[in-house]
């Protein structure tokens, strides 16, 4: 399992943090090139691969890759 947030396009809206039913994402101190505070993947182990974050991210930044 790999979860990534693309800092190039993330606008720090925090929808992913709220939408995830398993609290996988959290606020971080990391800023992207625009100075936007972007979330981090804090609890990767909790992910159930529902992929709600992928469809809810308005800027298409999130990738949830499940092993096959």
């Amino acid at each position: 399992m790999n979860i990534s947030i693309d800092d190039n396009y993330c606008k720090g809206c925090e929808i992913c943090i709220n939408a995830c039913p398993k609290d996988v994402f959290a606020i971080s101190q990391k800023r992207n090139k625009y100075g936007t505070l972007i979330p981090c993947v804090a609890e990767k182990e909790n992910c159930i691969a529902c992929k709600l974050c992928e469809i809810m991210c308005p800027d298409g930044c999130i990738n949830v890759e499940t092993e096959v």
């Binding site: 809206c13 469809i55 298409g60 999130i62």
Partner: protein
Amino acid sequence: MNSLLEKYIKKESLPYIFCPGCGNGIVLNAMIYAIEALGIKDDTACVSGIGCSSWIPPYLNMDVMHTIHGRAIAFAEGLKLSQPDKNIIVFTGDGDCLAIGGNHLLHAAKRNINITVIMINNYIYGMTGGQKSPTTPIDAKTKTSPYGAIDNPIDGCGVAMSAGATFCSRWTTGHPNQLKKAIQEGIAHNGFSFIEVLSQCPVQAGKSIFKERDPWKIIQYIRKNSTITSVWEDEYKEDKIRLGNFKKETDKREYCEKIITLKKRMKQE
């Protein structure tokens, strides 16, 4: 970037112009998922008018037309008549679709032309700075209703169905999977499909309507003030806004087919 979106989005035009947390990106995602599920990327064209929501198609690596304010449906009808084999999806705002473009909505619905209209209702004119739209709630203080809106908002689904739309659904950006399914069904339906999405504009509607700038809190507020139903009753008195798949009528003839029949008849006469 999300791997599915990589196939659909022109990377060189990113980031989207949308403000952080704007619902337009979620509607775009739902539409991409629907197109992918149907496998019709190369047989589909997207048309829009003017407004923030009308900026959804230009990022797509597909056939798109970004047209003029209020006329997206009119352009889409022309495109459909010239290329009846293409699936046509219209992206339009509450202002674009129900104010300046209201007449086109009525007549496209009445014709039952096979296009799918996705109306992003953020209750306001977002792009121009927060003016009152046909869906702005009573009492909302916007740039053009500084003392509070006094007239009744229009229900886009009610209008579209009464004018003759043969497919109609309404969801919110907090129901992305239901929205994706509705878009899929709307495209597959042979007739005029109207899909309304209640969406968050955290900037303009956030300031004038919700008094809340957090996109997630606005999504939750809209969800809490809605109820899911599959029966549309014209006499509806509750405060909660109805969501669901309201209508799918398959016995009405479609407009392009009617034109083909008419042409044949004219040749014979």
